[in-house]
Symmetry: C2
Subunit: 257 residues, 2 copies
């Protein structure tokens, strides 16, 4: 399983992905699920991928291969907009699905995959897209300013509670770390290393990139503080007022019998 998260903020974008690939219990490998197309001053496109690894690798590989053979071929290196880039990647995934899908399904292998594609191309604002398994895609908005793919549920509540378009990049990174911590705690197949990438809006180059390995001190610190804080918070919550009342009434009834 995989967990990838991309946030679109007024200040820029935050991308986070784990690097664990699980093809059965005894075949856990590590593959980076974050790919960056950067030409400073002109474009930064970040692609996060989830689902069948051969499909996501081949879709990206197909685009790179075509671009390598013919620089005029439309690719993530020369797409004129993020919208065009999203369409290209969706089409590449459809092509891989046409080529490999039936062979995989014959052996009950699920060929489905999905992408998050975000970044900025000179001449337009930063944009973020989610590309579905079928190759169609949607763009983020101010109302829904983040996308997740893979194991999305455990890490969603904290994002919904704290993220807005006005959140700072630094707080967004912190929020993403808590979201990953919750996910890793509940799904053992999501795990370090975790790749973090930050783009400042208008910068047209990667602002910051960091890899957090197993046992990373900050992850450990966040995990302990969050866990302890949640327990304290739980202890401080009110007890159901009807609990004691109903229990007392019940006891009184039993005493009468």
């Amino acid at each position: 399983m995989t967990y990838c998260l991309a946030m679109s903020l007024d200040a820029g974008m935050v991308f986070v992905s784990d690097s664990r690939t699980n093809a059965g219990v005894d075949n856990v490998g590590r593959f980076e699920k974050m790919k960056v197309y950067e030409r400073a001053g002109e474009r930064v496109i970040v692609v996060l991928s989830a689902g069948n690894l051969s499909v996501t690798q081949n879709a990206l590989g197909l685009l790179d291969h075509q671009a390598g053979r013919d620089p005029n071929q439309l690719s993530l290196w020369n797409a004129k907009s993020m919208f065009e880039a999203a369409g290209l990647l969706g089409n590449a995934m459809r092509e891989v699905e046409r080529r490999d899908g039936d062979y995989m399904r014959q052996n009950r292998i699920d060929p489905s995959a999905s992408f998050l594609l975000g970044g900025q191309v000179a001449g337009e604002a930063p944009r973020l897209f989610m590309i579905y398994a079928e190759g169609n895609y949607i763009e983020s908005s101010r109302e829904t300013n983040y996308f997740q793919i893979g194991e999305i549920k455990y890490g969603k509540p904290i994002i919904d509670r704290v993220l807005t378009p006005r959140t700072s990049l630094r707080d967004a990174v912190k929020c993403a770390m808590v979201s990953f911590d919750s996910t890793m705690r509940s799904n053992i197949s999501v795990g370090p290393p975790i790749d973090v990438l930050v783009l400042e809006a208008g910068n047209l180059k990667v602002s910051m990139r960091q890899r957090l390995d197993e046992g990373d001190p900050y992850l450990t610190q966040i995990r302990a503080a969050w866990s302890e804080g949640l327990k304290q918070l739980f202890v401080g919550l009110p007890v159901p007022p009807w609990y004691d009342e109903l229990a007392a009434r019940q006891q009184a009834m039993q005493a009468q019998q």
Copy 2:
């Protein structure tokens, strides 16, 4: 969608279920998903159901129907153990599946369903089972002392953090309320009324039963306190130490260029 939760503690058991059934956006109905078989001093069996409503209703209906026609027929009213009760319900679900499954699948309707079955029959300790869509089942243990069915992921982290076999019934109810709050916040198709039932171990009758409707003051209070507490907790968490360092180095590099 549905969310049902059953917890097995040293002190007894807590069962919680929502009552919203969603068969498409404009057909949201309410059906109680908690059914109680109680004969004070002799047995209390609580069944929570998730999945296809016609399958769960018919599986339970089949057992009731057979018991009504012939009191000697094996049923939830006379099963000699919780283990036997779980097997009966699993078989009833298989029978409904045999009768209705193909007709439903022909119209792309998913006939899958599952149950939580817990309680106590005189002569043995309280026991809790989860019955899968295929009719097979598992029993809870001290290591895994709760089961969930339906929309399980959003509400799981808090239970994992606070529940142990030694948790009091009152704290377990509080934990269940937080778990339901997280679920309702992230999945609109899970909603009030919420049914809560508590069994004290050895009591052989329902200790407490409560229905929480939309706008219930305790739910509202828990929701506000939990939400506000989480936000505060998040604000107090440390910022990634590498964030500022990397950003400063990046700026220095840009200044040199």
